[in-house]
Amino acid sequence: MVAAREVDEKLEARARILRAVRGWFEGQGFLEVDTPARVRSPGQEVHLDAVPSGDGHWLITSPEYHMKRLVAAGLPRIVQIAKCWRGNETGPHHRGEFTMVEWYRANAPLEALADDCEALLRAAAAAVGRDAAALGLAAPFARTTVRELCARHAGIDLAGDEDVAALQAKARAAGVAFGSATAWDDVFYQVFLDRIEPRLAEAGPTFVFDWPAPLGALARPKPGDPRVVERFELYAGGLELANAFGELTDPVEQRRRFEDESRTRSARGKQVYPIDEDLLAALPQMPPTAGIALGFDRLVMLVLGALDIGEVLAFGDERGA
């Protein structure tokens, strides 16, 4: 049990940061939207487990599918502050129920979202009287690539289009023990967690761009280098804070990826969800768009220096699913 006074202070800070985030987006001309929390097609990604909510519905793991449909319908700048749910995720940085800030900019490059992040983090710090410089947020954030990090911290020359056997050989040569991993992404994330993430945790805020194509999810291939996709992740204070895509708008390629993911889910004995046909139907109308999800609870952790996500939640000691 935490002292009532301490709870008050954390929740008050959280509320002020929330107000600052809303205000920042309003100032940038964003429209705040509210899309369904119960859906028939939750996130397809292989490593996400949606929470069932009855009648063939699931709680969203992210509001991205519906928000992309709004962009396709002609809304160029939208933001949502949404509760999301993910099964089997509880840890110092994870809760089965959490709050996401998700926003989209039509006809804007991916880099515009990185600029948004820098401004948003500074606004959040200012909202609770924290000094941006003391938090390491005042100077422009570092920008690097997955390839550069693999070379620097793991001694691995990552192409992005090598097959899994070649990636395993590179990991083995670098001394990374990847257990029984036979999937490309599993071998990659073993390298990432063992060698790269600890170094990112020591560094100042860093945007990591250009993720290998097998980790593409909803991102489009990078023009000029299809071995990587237009995607960045923002790491700050040891937290994975945000993930951004240059959004894939090609319905044929998107269907291929959804079907791939469904096959993998099925092969691993995981729940297979219906493919979101409404999203696929909307993609041809979608302009080139950059979209991003930022963990709001983790943003509050960063600004307040919290080590466990439970510290910044009301009833954070009820760890949930």
Partner: protein, 188 residues
């Protein structure tokens, strides 16, 4: 076989052919990747600490280790002889295996003996032992609080640094992890 959902403090598993016990663990998950358990574990043979990120679903081989409470009886040329306090079975453990622990292992003390694949591979002592001083230079009256020390021998033959006021026959408390004198429990 175990998997990552079985991980808890004290779980004993095999890594690269050696037995380890889990010391710390936490859930980690990159946004688009599989769940991992970030694990800190201790080699039961060497004490070395290892960090591993174990991917959800990875199988973990249980380590065949058990600890038994045994009483240390006496020393032979190459081994120390222990007795199982429940079955009265006796077992000799090579002196090299016990190593420096022998300094703080007086006869008749109860210790935890670690067995790996049925073979005794180490002992863990109680954190504190009480021992009488068998040999030390005479003390100096009145010099009780200056922090000055002198060597003193206990029954195992080990030498402990003790305050100047300690005499032969005094019973003292020793921290077996550091070999440090803690306090005098009884005067000679």
């Amino acid at each position: 076989m175990y998997d990552t959902s079985d991980i808890r403090k004290g779980l004993k598993i095999m890594i690269d052919g050696a037995p380890y016990t889990i010391v710390e663990f936490q859930f980690v998950k990159p946004g688009k990747g599989a769940a991992f358990t970030r694990t800190k574990m201790k080699n039961l043979l060497t004490g070395a600490v290892l960090e591993r990120n174990l991917r959800s679903g990875d199988k973990l081989e249980p380590a065949d280790v058990e600890t038994k409470t045994m009483q240390y009886l006496y020393a032979e040329a190459e081994a120390f002889v222990f007795m199982d306090t429940t079955t009265y079975d006796q077992v000799g453990i090579p002196k090299a295996t016990i190593g420096e622990s022998a300094d703080y292992m007086p006869e008749n003390i109860n210790v935890e003996v670690l067995f790996f694949n049925g073979r005794a591979v180490g002992v863990s002592l109680p954190n504190f032992i009480e021992q009488a001083i068998v040999e030390t230079d005479p003390g100096f009256r009145g010099d009780t609080a200056t922090g000055a020390t002198k060597p003193a021998k206990i029954s195992t033959g080990a030498t402990i640094n003790v305050p100047l006021f300690i005499n032969v026959g005094d019973v003292i408390k020793i921290d077996t992890r550091t070999g440090q004198y803690l306090e005098r429990l009884a005067r000679a």
